[in-house]
Symmetry: C2
Amino acid sequence: MKSGIVLLFLVLMACLTTFGQKKQSPKGDEKGLIKVSVMYPAGEGKTFNMEYYETKHMPMVAGLLGSNLVKYTIEKGLASGIPNQPLPYVAIGIFYVKNLADYQASIAPNRDAIRADIANYTNIAPVILVSEVVK
Amino acid sequence: MKSGIVLLFLVLMACLTTFGQKKQSPKGDEKGLIKVSVMYPAGEGKTFNMEYYETKHMPMVAGLLGSNLVKYTIEKGLASGIPNQPLPYVAIGIFYVKNLADYQASIAPNRDAIRADIANYTNIAPVILVSEVVK
């Protein structure tokens, strides 16, 4: 009986931990977060090395952001969603952060290193949008 | 002892259910999904009614997509991430779908109704990017 109670207690603890994790990260719950979207416009003569971007550049920048970074994503442009329109962007990297001021404070002292690394994977000058997830 | 075992069984079932749900929706697991990003460029004289967009337009379009739609998000543009550059987009609505062909098949017969509704919240012609989440 005693070992049964101990086992029950352990299982309950595991459950509580699991429920706790679920609460903090339900599917698609990005509401209220700040998104920093780094968008690379398509165009003639533009090049982009996705492998370098995914394995070197994005992890390097993400590593500067500490616990302010909730997640980051990378997407590859496929087409315009409007028939007969050119592809708008070849790639987009997105950092989801809790706080814009902390993001800026992390990036500012490393701006030169980040810019220097961009030449390693693309000749495109990115457009950067700071936005707030409202839904 | 018997009631202890029954309780233990119930707690275990609850745990398994919870773990099962977690597996299907881990945080940020959008990899492999298709994103359709509808981006509204900022500019002089441009207007955008976020409340209408969030409560009427996006739910209407999302409702057309059925089980192909994994989630949709809405963001509000705050600033350019590059100093002294203008805000690129006032708003972006994003549909995360499993399959582009099914998305197009759902939208095509409703294109006129969707376009007609755009005039209810903005005078901006959106840029639309179809992309694949690679990370």
